[in-house]
Symmetry: C3
Subunit: 368 residues, 3 copies
């Protein structure tokens, strides 16, 4: 493949050319953006995650799983620290028997000696069989994939968050949890989802909205501070998929008017570390953290929603989703965290081509 990096990157944005650069032997090899998965592929990923989760419950299944990627070595290249995301990937790899290493100093060491990103990634890749990459640059995952795709020893790259634009495995775990929670009510098609927070700058909230466009006529209520309301591009994209969308700036009125019809609420914290006056990526120390009243899901709002309404949050949370909600039947926040591990295991299985075998085994054993 003799693409320049610019051609590679542009291919990612094109629905028709994307598969050519991201897939190898018919399977996803570079996992960089939520949009790269078709509705069918999303279904397969979720089924693989469920199969792994159920196989892992018994000794035989665990032994089977831990044998699948035995000997495979995963590099978690985290230029930005993110303990929980990293540990989720490491646990996922463990479940399938792969070995993980956390490498966090890509920006120091040899870079300061004048080495190129490409050389650095390629050198480190020599010791590994797949890379999980998190980096503040929007393009890092794509650049690493491009650099490796030109070598004789190309290995899979999975993005664990690139800049502010994408966090593909977070959106997959959110989708997996939502799909699972709505399974007995016919799945995601036609459902009404309320998404609360800094929509404009929260990649988890935005990614979820993008994924919803793959389904049949869901409805979306956004609730966000005016300064961080969903941008026109996002709204136009969603509406272009025949999805009914409304934008609000406080939770309570939405619940009073539409509460009974809401199937799922996706709460997020206000990302105050990006506010004016904050040092890069750190919240202003003099400012009290937490959402103002309009964006807090007060416990007394419980009366407005159905008992089967799904309650989600990508964590960490501040004050927007109080502890009292934990006993609500639809509260699945802690399940989301565990699901992050299962869906990442499913992603590993997919890039290494072991996913179909896992689903088959689980089906044969009557687990799914």
């Amino acid at each position: 493949m003799d693409l320049t990096f610019e051609e590679f990157r542009d291919s990612l944005a094109s629905r028709s050319r994307r598969a050519k650069v991201l897939k190898r032997d018919g399977r996803h090899f570079f996992v960089l953006i939520s949009q790269q998965f078709s509705k069918e592929e999303l279904g397969n990923l979720c089924d693989t995650a469920t199969a792994i989760r159920r196989l892992d419950r018994h000794v035989d299944g665990r032994d089977y799983l831990r044998n699948l990627l035995r000997g495979a070595r995963i590099m978690n290249l985290f230029a930005q620290p993110s303990t929980r995301t990293a540990e989720s990937f490491v646990a996922a790899a463990d479940k399938l028997g792969a070995t993980s290493r956390l490498v966090s100093d890509i920006r120091t060491s040899s870079f300061s000696k004048g080495e190129s990103v490409e050389d650095s990634v390629r050198t480190l890749s020599s010791f590994f069989d797949a890379i999980v990459a998190r980096h503040p640059d929007d393009d890092f995952g794509a650049r690493a994939s491009w650099a490796l795709s030109k070598t004789k020893r190309t290995i899979p790259v999975i993005s664990a968050g690139s800049g502010k634009s994408q966090h593909v495995t977070q959106s997959l775990l959110d989708f997996y949890t939502l799909r699972y929670s709505l399974a007995e009510r016919g799945g995601v098609d036609g459902k009404t989802v309320m998404i609360v927070g800094d929509i404009a700058r929260n990649r988890a909230a935005r990614s979820l909205a993008y994924l919803l466009t793959k389904f049949d006529k869901p409805k979306i209520h956004f609730v966000s501070p005016e300064a961080h309301a969903p941008d026109d591009e996002l709204l136009a994209y969603i509406r272009g998929h025949e999805i009914e969308v409304q934008v609000h700036n406080a939770i309570e009125p939405v619940l009073r008017e539409h509460g009974e019809g809401i199937d799922a609420m996706y709460m997020t914290r206000l990302q105050q570390e990006w506010d004016k006056g904050s040092a890069a990526g750190q919240p202003d120390a003099n400012k009290k953290l937490g959402a103002p009243d309009a964006f807090i899901l007060h416990h007394e709002y419980r009366k407005h929603i159905r008992p089967d309404c799904v309650l989600m949050h990508p964590l960490p949370r501040v004050n927007e989703l109080p502890d009292e909600w934990e006993d609500h039947p639809g509260f699945v926040v802690w399940r989301q965290v565990r699901n992050g591990m299962w869906i990442r295991a499913a992603v590993f299985a997919t890039v290494f081509g072991a996913d179909a075998e896992i689903r088959d085994r689980s089906r044969r054993l009557g687990l799914t």
Copy 2:
């Protein structure tokens, strides 16, 4: 269990209520303080450690051990760096086939975004089967245990040192070494132990003294600088258990008078990083490190003690226990280090309920 944190913490201090919050299914599940083990349980822990140590000597035993906790994942949550304690736990987990991860940034990352300790511990716990925690707050281990005990997925918590108050596994390894070294002389009951150092602020020395109270009429000689002599609370507690205790402020006179009767000496360094004028936790750079003459076990004191007197030190040492002692028959300092690994493996076996099986196997094979 619907205790508040304050109720949980208060239960720890009560001999009668302690077991209820720390044990599950009859076994220790949260390992937080030395006092939680009965004399019989201490004996079982030591026997388990010995069984593991002996099984580990041969290929078959090693394979058996490495299969016991296969697939279990341990998080070593170290808010304070402590390479040797962490590596001892990791090695211990390895012996039983469990996988370890070292997580050290609990105080940064999501905490700075306003997350609670409880959410943070709980999120990370999702990827693990047990937590080993070291933290500067006295209450951290208890708080983590309490938070997890309220969830659906409660996992064991083992303290690796909380604040200045307790270092439970250090006291267990010291006890294990002392018991083993005195085994041919009838065990710890009735023995005379000299403990040297900053008694008032050395948690290892204090913990050992507390453990001695579980035995029948041992005698204790404390030797410490006046400013850091054992406090009245400690002395009252020990005397309350019918233990004869004397306090001195120099080693030599004690040895000249009582040397022949001393069964074990527990040397510790003076913890000068806590002295006035020292920056928090770091020794004063302008001050020469090391004990003054009265607290150094000079090699010429050898003539005052018996050849079977046990010599211990929790390390690191400065000048208080000179190298020349290494060939003394009772010098067991390096054995203490290895014992730290074996007793921690025994603690893991205990919280996962594999200890009785290990002891049985070892007995059947005639190893213990």
Copy 3:
């Protein structure tokens, strides 16, 4: 063994006494300097590396390898950060089934409390079966080996770079790659090698030159800035082994005159982090990094060399070996990186006494 450290260190410098302190049971136990291997031992190391590389290609071979050092625990004690060297060792240990830990704070923690290097190394060694050490002090590896050789539980020590003097495994991987690349042309004997860079202060370049002295009449062209030309000691040593050596200060004239006769080129970057005006170990931020024209291997020089000329570089590179060279048939830079992993695996196999068995198996299976 009752040597003082000074006696131990002096033994290293002596060809006749070296083996006595570095070997145990006839095999290398402490791997500290390139010179410790005889020509025959170098051949065995390379054969072991090749055997491992080929066994690793198939499931059966991988399983065999991963069983060899199962349960062995390696401490990578890196006082200086070096991600790629560390990861290369970890990957190598993984291939043979050993477990690795990266410990990087030897200079902090207990050292600041007044502990000796010997106590610190010995304490940590209690949890491990071998040590890989990288340290800014030239003597650290030797000191650790000496300290451990006096204990009852002596474990192997492998240097991963000590100060500026030696980087033994780098020179082994360079040698392995060179030998392999020249295998069809009769090996290293009598070949002409051009070595470019800061010869005086580049330990990789110097070590390679030292290793070449073990072979029959090779020729060496050094190309270096005058300020960092090979020192008289190095030149005298090489000439003392009947090796023809020339010193130049620009690449182009050498290639124009001798290009057709050159069998291998070893390019290195200029180590500008040591230049005057640079903060310790960091390049001057105000100075453009990279070699001046005379030390860049411009792509148009291709016409001067043979297509089978071997092109090597220890990485990281800056501008001295442009990307355009990657499709030259002799370009083996990326193979060097992978070879670093294989030769380190061979070193582990050697210190644990598993190397002969590996070579035998590979031979029986017709792999070598």
